[in-house]
Symmetry: C2
């Protein structure tokens, strides 16, 4: 159950057997069916979850009531609304499973206990947040500077497995275009 997460962590920091055992003992294993809402807008996010298996997306609702997908996450990603998780403020986003998922979950309490006992893990969490920040920065830049086709090509580059795993309209809502327009972009690209 802990093979994948331990391999992931050991890429970033070296831990003793005792530290790994402590880390694993603080993780809660959760199996979630497809289409489970893990977080609702207005609720406080009380989890930081490592995806052992599955696919998850987080999204906002815009002023027209449309869903705007902020991020997809698959195996080896951590999922949370980190702002809400750390400040206990209500979240602005929704987090939903796209497939049946196996998650390894930390709560604010277990994360704090973990970092107190194994401060070396600060580094792993810093690198993880940095990765998230990098992705979001690119996401933001893409919304303002590239064409739909460029956005889709960049999306395929960063998320090669997602088109096989989620319905088209979710990808459209990530790219900020309609499903019909995405279909046109795909047809155009297929002809090239």
């Amino acid at each position: 159950m802990f093979d994948r997460i331990n391999k992931h962590v050991l890429k970033h920091v070296s831990l003793s057997k005792e530290e790994i055992a402590l880390f694993n003992s603080l993780l809660e294993f959760k199996k979630m069916p497809k289409k489970t809402m893990l977080l609702h807008e207005g609720d406080v996010c009380n989890f930081e979850a490592f995806i052992n298996r599955g696919c998850i997306r987080n999204y906002y609702i815009d002023e027209h009531g449309a869903e705007v997908t902020l991020q997809f996450a698959i195996e080896d990603w951590w999922v949370s609304d980190i702002a809400s998780f750390h400040t206990h403020a209500p979240s602005n986003m929704f987090i939903e499973t796209m497939e049946e998922c196996e998650l390894l979950v930390l709560s604010p309490q277990t994360k704090e206990a973990l970092l107190t006992k194994v401060p070396k893990l600060e580094r792993m969490f810093r690198l993880m947040v940095q990765k998230n920040l990098t992705v979001l920065q690119k996401r933001f830049l893409n919304t303002i500077t590239t064409t739909a086709q460029e956005k889709y090509i960049d999306f395929l580059y960063r998320y090669p497995s997602i088109p096989q795993r989620v319905a088209q309209h979710y990808i459209a809502s990530y790219l900020g275009i309609s499903a019909e327009f995405l279909s046109k972009v795909r047809t155009k690209l297929a002809k090239k």
Copy 2:
């Protein structure tokens, strides 16, 4: 010279006198005139700078050649393109001083040396990246879900001192509206 940064760091972690001295010895002090470009699009960002005094903004150029301000930063903020800084990839953004600035600067090398010698500082940098991620998440959400007036009120709440420190059109480029429209929003708010 180090009063402000040491106070800032000690809010997040407790350090011994020796650790503080080591930290300070690795910081490079730089004084920059107003309107200095600290980073150009296409260059690798080789600094993470604590603002001891001054105001800085980072921005992108969109597909119409217009500047889109991503963030303003003032005293007690760290400024960098963290993605470029850590991956050594060329940056997509510009970073420019809005006022004369005093900066305390880490390079990728001095940051790594610092974290190797004082791993406790991982926590401070993690919290700092989290804060940045939170701000960017809100920034992103604001671009898609709120009216210009709501955006401006939120901006005033988060950056109360900025309107006195930078020209209107920079604020407009942060809000994603024209300077004329911002002027109308301000007039409307002033009447309330």
